[in-house]
């Protein structure tokens, strides 16, 4: 009997081994090999910092929703991913003081039903409670997680998330914010808080710091809210009647003006949030294993709700807690820094990671998507390998030898491969600009410090900035610095989506096109029998380069500067250009181009030989802020990124005091008139901005005293119209001058095929999900060897 059983066992083993061998033989491997010039270091959903970090995250997690191609494959749709369907509005169930929801409100509480087959890579089921626990870990006040603001700082504001994170935190808050919070007027505020410490941002209020010991202005100011030795009452007196008032009145400000600035410009250290708060009060609630409710502080629905949830904060509690350490009160966590500290719940899982060397991902067998019929034939890639290869030339050589499936092309390779059939172009969402500092006070100070016969205040003359814009040969600039980029003519690039529900790209709208032709002065030349039959023809003809007109503007700017006493005839204009460092090829090439371009451009004008440039290449991390802090007069290659689906919110970047490049421009004092539904309305830039981000606004009917309450948020067309008007207004300042769009080029290897030839934003050409292979790994090696080890991609 024993012998018979033993024989049977041997036979079974033999069959099994043969079967396994056969399986191994029939399942080829498809490895997607890429190289990165920067390497991920922390891919925890709570603390990842860079795009490179999120490269890993994109493979190992699934959000509630994701983007997919639409039926016609020329646009996108949002589809459920980790949840079974779109959410259900359950606001009515949460009406009451506990969640600050009034009867009749909608879109404040949403119920999401998780997939029942949602699992970690070890097979453990994921429940709604895991999301609640993860939110608690994310918002842990002791951890100060870098990504904690994902639950309160974007479109989706989870009720009490910020309050829980910042419980008991005191921070400088403007007088006005405290008055609004406490419902008091200025008198009441001073009576209640007059004895507390006063704070101020010297740079913003005066562009100068007052030394209370020396009783004198220092001539310099830090752009930060800082403590003063004065009480709130004393600071108020200083500002409205004391030395502050004296300085301001010398610059033309009245006492009334100063009084009106008080609520925004003076600060107090204020505890905004309760000292202690239970996590039960945070709007992330699990109803059962699969139902999760998010209670929001402000209504959110449709695309922006789903888009906010394409990202996720989910972490594996057990592993996360094992990664925590607290040393002398400082919390740190190593979750998501190695294979051992990573737990996937996405299509791939991390299988190896060597710091600054290589990482690999392989299919996660517990990912629900592989059992989904919709994914049949997709995800052919069995393994993803990413090598850290710092040098571009090494990456190209590895690619040509078949070691990589894709390689980015920089300026050095564009001549060789730009016409290759394997060359693909990807457009980014940023517009890079050159920005000028037209702040008269700052320029005067810089001018005095620069020495005799040096002029900088000509930058305040708008004609001069217009001339600088028209004299910039954008195409040549791109070729000299980043040949994959193309000239830009407006604030927003072609990838910006104005109506995400319907996939309408902003630059394709009539409003946006009109902004461009208006800004470049082509409106009069469009129409039948004119220079340009259509708006599109006019836009296609744009180069942004008109040297003849630029020379006229240079002359008129010079005349104005002389007339206004800004400049003497023997003065030389000196523009300090800021760059982050002295080693970046883009900034070195760009600076050189700017100097040569403008030196040539002013020839034959009254500024010939009088326009010079200097460079501060030590700005480093302070590069973006250097103009606001008046360190330099000009920057180039600056812009904002990451608001592809929300150009409305991005307007804030151009008009808010802590973001805008021109510290002198006051959007709250700049009126804009917009025609909406046949009626003209006027209000200031800031109010229009509030309108497009969801607030009801009041505007004056043009030509009358009559005001009207407007809702420009709910109607997509009105919203786009206001956005266009604001874009035009910002452009007309000529302090943020569009220079080039952000795009890149790459070579695709012969082993792989993209799903689409043309890019469809934001899915590109389908990514790893849709990628197919012409050769499996073994066949590819053989093919490369057959070609002599080096492939021809020209």
């Amino acid at each position: 009997m024993k012998k018979a059983l033993a024989s049977l066992l041997v036979l079974c083993m033999l069959f099994a081994s043969v079967a396994m061998a056969e399986t191994g033989a029939t399942e080829p491997s498809y490895t997607y090999n890429t190289a990165a010039s920067e390497f991920p270091t922390n891919w925890s959903p709570h603390s990842n910092q860079t795009n490179t970090d999120s490269d890993i995250l994109d493979y190992i997690r699934s959000g509630f929703y994701t983007f997919d191609f639409n039926e016609t494959m020329d646009g996108y749709v949002v589809v459920p991913d980790a949840v079974v369907d779109f959410p259900v509005d359950v606001t009515a169930d949460y009406v009451g003081d506990e969640w600050n929801i009034a009867e009749g409100e909608t879109a404040r509480a949403w119920k999401f039903t998780l997939r029942s087959d949602l699992k970690w890579q070890d097979g453990t089921p994921i429940t709604a409670q895991d999301y609640v626990t993860s939110a608690e870990l994310l918002l842990n006040p002791k951890a100060q997680n870098h990504r904690a603001d994902q639950l309160y700082s974007g479109n989706m504001v989870v009720e009490n998330a910020e309050a829980y994170l910042k419980q008991g935190l005191a921070a400088p808050v403007s007088f006005g914010a405290v008055m609004a919070e406490e419902g008091t007027d200025l008198e009441g505020f001073l009576a209640a808080h007059g004895e507390e410490k006063g704070y101020i941002n010297w740079s913003y209020s005066f562009g100068d710091t007052y030394d209370f010991d020396a009783k004198a202005w220092t001539g310099a100011a830090e752009d930060a809210v800082v403590e003063t030795p004065l009480t709130v009452q004393e600071l108020y007196d200083f500002y409205t009647t004391g030395e502050g008032m004296t300085l301001a009145s010398g610059r033309g400000a009245s006492a009334e003006d100063m009084l009106s600035y008080v609520p925004d410009e003076l600060y107090i250290n204020y505890v905004q949030y309760p000292d202690e708060m239970s996590f039960d009060k945070v709007g992330v609630q699990a109803l059962n294993d699969t139902d999760l409710v998010l209670i929001l502080a402000k209504p959110l629905e449709g695309f922006y709700l789903y888009y906010s949830l394409t990202d996720t904060w989910l972490v594996n509690e057990e592993l996360y807690k094992a990664c925590e350490t607290v040393s002398e009160g400082v919390y740190s966590n190593t979750y998501g820094t190695s294979v051992e500290t990573t737990m996937s719940f996405g299509p791939y899982m991390l299988t190896s990671f060597q710091s600054d060397k290589v990482y690999t991902l392989e299919k996660n067998p517990y990912w629900y998507g592989y059992n989904d019929e919709a994914n049949e034939g997709l995800y052919q890639t069995t393994k993803i390998q990413v090598d850290y290869v710092a040098e571009p030339s090494t990456r190209v050589e590895m690619f040509l030898n078949g070691k990589l499936d894709v390689v980015g092309l920089d300026a050095n390779y564009m001549d060789e491969y730009s016409t290759s059939d394997y060359c693909y172009y990807d457009e980014g969402d940023s517009v890079f600009a050159m920005v000028f500092n037209p702040d008269m006070d700052a320029l005067k100070t810089a001018q005095e410090n620069a020495g005799e016969n040096i002029n900088k205040t000509i930058l305040t003359v708008k004609d001069f900035r217009i001339a600088m814009s028209l004299a910039m040969d954008r195409q040549a600039f791109c070729l000299a610095t980043a040949p994959t980029n193309a000239p830009a003519f407006a604030l927003y690039g072609s990838q910006i989506v104005a109506d995400p529900e319907n996939g309408v790209f902003y630059r394709t709208t009539d409003v946006a096109k009109q902004v461009v032709v208006d800004f470049w002065g082509l409106s009069e030349d469009i129409g039948e029998g004119k220079l340009y039959p259509t708006v599109d023809d006019a836009i296609d003809s744009l180069t942004g380069y008109n040297l003849e007109m630029a020379k006229t503007y240079f002359d008129s700017a010079y005349d104005t500067a002389i007339e206004q006493g800004l400049m003497d005839e023997d003065d030389v204009v000196e523009i300090m250009v800021g760059t982050p460092n002295s080693t970046g090829a883009f900034y070195n090439g760009g600076y050189e181009f700017i100097v040569n371009n403008y030196t040539e451009a002013v020839k034959g004008t009254k500024l010939e030989g009088k326009l010079t440039f200097k460079r501060d290449d030590t700005l480093g991390n302070a590069f973006a802020e250097a103009l606001r802090t008046n360190r330099v007069d000009m920057l180039f290659g600056v812009g904002w990124t990451g608001s592809t689906f929300d150009p409305y919110g991005l307007v804030e970047a151009y008009i808010a005091e802590n973001y805008q490049y021109d510290p002198a421009w006051k959007p709250a004092e700049t009126d804009v008139t917009i025609e909406l539904n046949g009626e003209s309305y006027t209000t200031d830039v800031w109010t229009w901005y509030k309108g497009i981000i969801g607030e009801k606004i009041t505007a004056t009917k043009t030509g009358t005293e009559e005001t009207a309450e407007l809702d420009v948020y709910s109607d997509a067309e009105l919203r786009i119209q206001v956005l266009g008007a604001l874009e035009g207004t910002i452009l007309q300042n000529y302090d943020f001058i569009p220079l080039m769009g952000d795009s890149s080029a790459k070579l695709k290897g012969m082993q792989i095929e993209y799903y689409l030839e043309d890019e469809v934003f934001p899915l590109s050409r389908g990514g790893v999900k849709y990628m197919t292979y012409n050769y499996d790994d073994a066949a590819w090696d053989a093919y490369v060897a057959e070609q002599g080890g080096t492939l021809n991609y020209k």
Binding site: T41, N42, S44, S47, Q49, K142, Q144, H146, A148, D149, Y152, S153, G154, L165, K166, L169, A171, A224, S327, E328, G329, V330, Y331, S332, N333, T334, Y335, T337, S352, Q354, S355, D356, K357, V358, D387, Y388, V389, A390, E391, S393, T394, E397, M398, L400, N401, K403, G620, N621, A622, A624, E625, W640, G642, S643, L650, E652, A653, N658, Y659, T790
Partner: protein, 319 residues
């Protein structure tokens, strides 16, 4: 001798503390405010900075650093380069790759440098000497990354003899790893071979023309005997400390070579710790302390080594 060593060690501790204090103050003076990011809650970043003690007076931060890091040997976690990870562990994880590639380079470069130097000295002013001296000038003058790219282009891309990048993994002493390191070793070695050749040739040429060597030859010793037993030994007095210095230097990686050949070593760490978006204080201070200590210790070792190579040199002796 013992007294001399103790005295040097005490002085070393003093110098170490002075250097570290200067480093601490200087790095803390660097701008460290993170750049404003649109839509990013800067108050949250400020909360973290407060928790890390960045807003405390520098003197107070310095006392904490002395107590925690220098006395407690807790160098803290990285706040920028490798967020959340222990800096000492990370540093030690990356050190072996640098040490191994440099060690291989020394093993290959030192004997070659000595041999070429001796050969050139023996063939002084003949074509062999001129050839070696010209090659030395070329290899000393051209930066190592230039021939690193050439080595990679010809040996890895064109001839395909070696992989482009050093092999992944932690099996640093395996044969596969060695093979993958050959292009890096060659690139790093050129400079060392050239430097050592030039130095050895110069020293040996001087010694070979000494009167006592002429006396040795007239006493009947062969040329080989005089060269190896007498000339080389005396020439080694300045050469040996140089070799020792090179060995001590194996712990400091080369930024460029490590980047070109994908060596996951410590080379880029020091510069990166300062040029990161915000300075990584803990990494910078650990690296400063480590390399300062290594530098100071190597100085002492080199000084002591003189006595062993040439017994006539007595350290700290007043006689």
């Amino acid at each position: 001798m013992v007294k001399y060593i103790l005295k040097r060690l005490l002085l070393m501790v003093m110098v170490f503390l002075i250097i570290i204090s200067i480093c601490f103050v200087l790095v803390k003076l660097l701008p460290n405010k993170p750049a404003e990011q649109f839509g990013k809650d800067m108050a949250l970043i400020e909360m973290r900075r407060e928790a890390l003690g960045y807003n405390k007076p520098i003197l107070e931060q310095y006392v904490i650093f002395l107590r925690k890091s220098l006395l407690g040997f807790d160098w803290g976690v990285s706040e920028s380069l490798y967020l959340g990870q222990d800096v000492w562990t990370k540093f030690m994880e990356k050190m072996p790759a640098t040490v191994v590639v440099n060690m291989y380079t020394m093993i290959f470069a030192v004997p070659l440098g000595l041999l070429f130097g001796i050969y050139a000295a023996l063939k002084k002013n003949r074509w062999q000497d001129h050839f070696i001296s010209t090659a030395v000038i070329v290899f000393v003058s051209v930066p190592s990354y230039v021939y690193a790219f050439l080595v990679q282009y010809f040996l890895c891309f064109k001839l395909k003899w070696f992989p482009f990048q050093v092999k992944a993994g932690y099996d640093f002493l395996s044969w596969d790893m060695f093979v993958s390191m050959v292009p890096a070793i060659i690139s790093l070695g050129f400079g060392t071979v050239a430097g050592l050749t030039r130095y050895t040739r110069a020293e040996l040429t001087e010694v070979l023309t000494s009167d006592y060597l002429l006396l040795a030859r007239t006493k009947g010793l062969s040329r080989a005997q005089t060269t190896v037993r007498h000339a080389l030994r005396n020439a080694m007095v300045p050469i040996f400390p140089m070799i020792l210095g090179e060995f001590v230097g194996i712990m400091s990686g080369s930024i460029i070579i490590e980047q070109i050949f994908g060596i996951p070593g410590v080379g880029p760490l020091y510069v990166a710790s300062i040029t990161a978006a915000t300075p990584d204080y803990n990494f910078f201070m650990l690296l400063s302390a480590f390399y300062t200590l290594i530098g100071l210790l190597s100085g002492i070792i080199v000084d002591i080594s003189y006595g062993f190579i040439d017994p006539r040199i007595r350290m700290g002796s007043k006689k």
